[in-house]
Amino acid sequence: MAEASIRPESFLPLTPAVFHILLALADGEKHGYAIMQEIEDVTDGRVQMGPGTLYGSIKRMLAAGLIEESDDRPDPALDDERRRYYRQTGLGRRVLRQEAERMADLMALARRKHVWAVIGSRSILT
């Protein structure tokens, strides 16, 4: 299947788990625990993913071609070589960008309707 011919919009909207995993992999390949850790860190612990949700999502994302397993096995001296590392595919990057744009559009709409406003760095639900 040609990855370039798949329309990213067909994957939208993403589930929160898929969105967070793609976002965690945006700055490089990671293994399962590192993905989980990153999601907890960036959301201040508000999103805590269990191993079932994490690997269930990874399974579906691999099948859909959003992520792929990294072929590079780390040096056993540096890390546990039994871990699997994952990274975004080109399609995964495009889907993530589209989802972020979709969310930004929704935010803009909410702002226009005076449901949501930004004061400095804080957001306020009105």
């Binding site: 299947m1 490089g28 625990y33 191993p51 540096l78 890390d79």
Partner: protein, 357 residues
């Protein structure tokens, strides 16, 4: 930070490893020797000047394990933590049996490994309270995702089976269709009484065509079910039109003996089915819908429209119809094309069901 450093930092044992190094009896001696080495000050200067150095220090300081690591853990607490973590991991590994076998075989070890990492982290951070909270979250996660995986496995299996069997149906339909038409071509079309040799040809033709058309409908439904996700909106629309064409064609065939319009419906439906398959073949070639033989739908679709073209052009000037060899070529092309499509469907059914999901 370099890739190696990033991976070390990501490792859940990183803070524990640092602590052990610091506690090792040779550590102070090693530090003294490093400090005395003539290159040491130069190396320190370079590290300090590196653009990532301050960022790395900041991150280490902000890391939730940093203060924990500096506070230190007693040997007794470590043993207790190891026992608690091991017991939790053992129970969790045992609970993984609730997932479908294929999912467990693929991801079970990695899930247990991640759970072990989280156990260590939460125990070090919050002790038994942390473990209790982790188990509460993990139990809910386990319950929800086991049900999800079983449901998905069930849907995948039925979709996979349907695509596989409809592939076989398309192949069988193509063979029956070709056999029906070829055997029927021996019919002399005399009004001989029932029981004559022509009756055999006629019955074979009707049975072959009727069964062939029923199997075409099933096969094309399977084609649409399995390949919608790969075919794009145009391909999906074409496959729907092909299914509708096959249904109209079947209806026309069944009504042919009682209604004059039946013949028109049969030909119109069949022409729609084959033409849309031919155009779908172009989409398949462009998008690589099948793993191999993407030209097959074109082969299946061009035969009969070409035959009609030849007939309309009046190649045979005496009858105004296409010559017999052209009919044979058209039927052969259609059947071979459909057999190839059907073969690919049943061969790729496993992968197709996953993508369609």
């Amino acid at each position: 930070m370099s890739e190696a450093s990033r991976r070390i930092a990501q490792h859940p044992d990183a803070s524990e490893a640092s602590r052990r190094i610091a506690q090792h009896p040779d550590a102070s001696e090693a530090s003294r020797r490093i400090a005395q080495h003539p290159d040491a000050s130069e190396a320190s200067r370079r590290i300090a000047q590196h653009p990532d150095a301050s960022e790395a220090s900041r991150r280490i300081a902000q890391h939730p394990d940093a203060s924990e690591a500096s506070r230190g853990i007693t040997e007794g607490a470590m043993r207790e933590s190891a026992a608690t973590v091991d017991l939790s991991v053992r129970v969790y590994t045992w609970l993984l049996a609730a997932y479908p076998g294929s999912f467990r075989a693929e991801y079970g070890n990695y899930m247990a490994q991640v759970f072990r990492d989280v156990c260590r982290r939460d125990y070090h951070r919050r002790g038994l309270r942390g473990m209790a909270w982790l188990w509460a979250r993990t139990s809910l996660d386990l319950l929800r995702t086991t049900v999800e995986e079983h449901i998905e496995r069930g849907i995948d299996m039925s979709r996979e089976k349907f695509v596989r069997w409809s592939g076989w149906a398309l192949m069988a339909g193509a063979v029956l269709f070709a056999a029906g038409l070829i055997i029927g071509s021996f019919d002399s079309y005399d009004m001989d009484p029932i029981g004559g040799v022509d009756a055999f040809y006629e019955i074979s033709q009707v049975v072959g065509l009727a069964l062939g058309h029923i199997l075409f409908v099933i096969g094309l439904l399977g084609l649409r079910t399995g390949y919608t996700a790969r075919s794009g909106s145009l391909g999906t629309g074409l496959l729907l039109l092909a299914v509708i064409g096959s249904v109209v064609s079947l209806g026309g065939l069944l009504l042919m003996s009682s209604m004059e319009a039946g013949w028109m419906a049969w030909m119109g439906g069949f022409l729609t089915m084959t033409l849309t398959l031919a155009v779908f073949g172009i989409v398949a070639v462009r998008r690589r819908v099948f793993s191999r033989w993407n030209f097959a739908p074109i082969l299946a679709g061009v035969g009969l429209p070409l035959l009609f073209g030849v007939g309309i052009a009046g190649v045979d000037s005496v009858s105004g119809q296409a010559p017999e060899w052209a009919s044979f070529v058209a039927v052969a092309l259609t059947s071979i094309g459909l057999i190839l499509v059907g073969y690919r469907m049943q061969a790729d059914a496993g992968a197709t069901a996953k993508v369609a999901a």
